[in-house]
């Protein structure tokens, strides 16, 4: 760069820095004011806004969902961040069987040891497949791990206890993921699945915990935390919006109105699936939002929400389209969809729980 350009660039950077600092300071000031208000409220215990009853109810329900779920959401993103940074992917892949059925099954179960959030699992699977993982295994892992994940099992237990909802959620997710994985095993050429061509040599990026990551532990830990925080805010917004919607629904819509939709064995399933896709809530906490519907919707439809949502929603579909060729994204959506609808409706019609 010539001297003049360099000077202009420097000015621009300084200007932008000043602007960012200004905005940052404003944001901090606002938060400080909020903080001061909160503190004053705590001490005075009288400085509270008392809104109309409906708003109070809405707030109570929303906060109830949020307070219960927030620890799980954070734990989920923390686990995810730690896995990203610390687990070596190569060692893992050497251990997987090559037989399609066993491969799909172990792919499905892998999530139990690799707690990654719904959104992190798609690029992770791409990396696995590029490094040689069989399609069956990779797809089964991608679809199952959002549910077969200790944190999700924990939050589903918190919401529903040791009961059919928990067992069926886990079991069916595994079943559908493995079945879909097996269908994908018919496409044995890994390269045809992905949008990007397979690499000829090893991947260049090695910031994350490949075996050769020699950065100090502290730094890697910090990175894991930074990743976790980012993911928390990114995932958090979907969850908070979903929780607000559920709270709004409970506050405003009389149960009787929902019953027409919620008690039909087929209609309720379709409605809950649509809701799951729309809300795109992270699987670590969607169980708590689903609780809001237990009073008015069939059990089969709630199960459909909990099984299909983690596999396919607006968020994850966008990610799939980035990673897989469109034709395979269609399979990724349709196969779980058909299986979920079939099983949920069958349960609604035949089983009383």
């Amino acid at each position: 760069m010539s001297g003049k350009h360099a000077q202009e660039a420097k000015c621009k950077i300084r200007g932008m820095k000043a602007l960012r600092n200004g905005l940052g300071a404003l944001g901090l000031a606002m938060l400080a004011v909020l903080g001061a208000l909160a503190l004053q409220n705590w001490m005075a215990a009288g400085f509270l806004i008392t809104p109309p009853p409906a708003f109070s109810t809405f707030t109570t329900i929303f906060l109830g969902i949020f307070i219960e779920a927030a620890p799980f959401l954070l734990l989920g993103t923390l686990a995810s961040g730690l896995v990203e940074v610390f687990i070596s992917r190569e060692r893992l892949q050497g251990m997987l069987p090559s037989n399609p059925v066993l491969g799909a099954l172990s792919g499905g179960l892998m999530g139990l040891f690799f707690p990654v959030c719904e959104c992190g699992v798609v690029p992770l699977t791409r990396r696995f497949i590029r490094k040689g993982m069989a399609p069956a295994t990779g797809i089964a892992f991608m679809l199952a791990s959002p549910v077969l994940n200790p944190i999700v099992i924990g939050s589903t237990y918190a919401a529903y206890g040791w009961g059919p909802m928990l067992y069926l959620r886990v079991g069916l997710s595994l079943l559908i993921a493995v079945a879909t994985g097996l269908v994908f095993s018919l496409q044995s050429e890994r390269g045809k699945l992905l949008k990007q061509p397979l690499p000829l040599t090893r991947d260049g990026h090695s910031v994350h915990g490949h075996g050769a990551d020699l950065r100090p532990l502290g730094q890697r830990f910090q990175q894991a935390l930074a990743l976790a925080a980012e993911e928390f805010f990114e995932m958090g917004r979907y969850f908070i919006v979903g929780a607000m919607l559920a709270a709004l629904l409970q506050t405003l819509v009389p149960q009787s109105n929902l019953l027409a939709l919620g008690s039909g064995p087929v209609l309720s399933v379709l409605a809950m699936i649509a809701l799951a896709v729309l809300l795109s809530i992270c699987s670590t906490v969607d169980a708590f939002v689903s609780l809001a519907f237990v009073g008015s919707f069939t059990q089969g439809s709630i199960l459909a929400f909990l099984v299909f949502g983690p596999m396919v929603d607006i968020k994850s579909t966008l990610l799939y389209l980035q990673v897989f060729k469109p034709r395979y994204v269609v399979y990724l959506i349709l196969l779980p969809l058909l299986m979920t609808i079939l099983i949920s409706v069958t349960l609604n019609l035949n089983v009383v729980w």
Partner: protein, 249 residues
């Protein structure tokens, strides 16, 4: 970098809020008390994460270059910078939590939610009938007993001693109202309202949402051909709302 500071503040705020909710006793308005430890742990983890992030933010001296390299290395993820409105949305629970008067679920929501006198919606796997001695049964115990019993007339004359809030259910007659409680399996999202019918000539003197201590006897009456259990009060006094307003099935 400013964004990261705001992230730290929000995370810290959430941690403080969770702990505050436990310490102030408000927690009982929101979730099943068996999860108290979870909220405490959550609060501590939020604070810990905020602290660690804050320390890292203070150490970084060259924000631009490091951030650029950082985001390049994330080419494989969908993790980019956190958009502004994500932070705003994350602030909503803080705003609502700290500024709105906390209030448990009460009768005002029953016109929307509905209240049951004879059945329990089972969110959780377990729905046990626990035998409690007659005079210490609460609303939940009674509703369970009614729904599990094959012949309600077996309860005729039995003494009743319970607390709940009044709800003037529109479909009941002038002399009848419900004394109700909410039951929670996990948290208010699955709250289910149950109640026992009370019949009294002074029914209209009571307002929805008043908390009462009811002592009386069961009387089994015919209603549309099927027997129905109703409490005839001997004594009903208004009480303060209890700190823990919900019941847990």
């Amino acid at each position: 970098m400013a964004k990261q500071k705001i992230q730290v503040l929000i995370l810290a705020g959430l941690g403080v809020y969770l702990l505050f909710v436990v310490v102030s006793g408000r927690l009982y308005y929101y979730i099943n008390e068996r999860f108290t430890w979870l909220v405490v742990a959550g609060g501590i983890i939020f604070l810990g994460t905020a602290l660690a992030l804050g320390l890292e933010a203070m150490r970084k001296n060259q924000p631009d270059e490091e951030e650029k390299a950082h985001s390049e290395s994330h080419a494989g993820h969908e993790h980019g910078k956190v958009p502004n409105w994500s932070l705003l949305i994350a602030g909503i629970p803080l705003l609502l939590g700290f500024l709105i008067t906390p209030k448990p679920l009460d009768a005002t929501t029953l016109s929307v939610r509905g209240v049951s006198t004879s059945g329990l919606s089972v969110a959780r796997g377990e729905n046990l009938l626990i035998e409690a001695p007659t005079d210490s049964r609460n609303v939940l115990d009674w509703v369970r007993a009614f729904s599990f019993s094959e012949d309600i007339s077996e309860f005729e004359g039995e003494p009743v001693d319970l607390i709940g809030f009044v709800y003037q259910e529109p479909s009941l007659g002038e002399n009848q109202f419900l004394v109700s409680r909410f039951t929670l399996s996990c948290c208010v999202a699955d709250a289910f309202a149950i109640g026992v019918r009370v019949e009294s000539e002074e029914a209209q003197d009571w307002e929805s949402n008043q908390w009462v201590h009811l002592i009386g006897r069961i009387s089994v009456q015919e209603n549309d051909g099927s027997p129905e259990a109703v409490v005839i009060p001997l004594r009903m006094v208004e009480i303060e709302p209890p700190p823990q307003p919900y019941l847990f099935p």
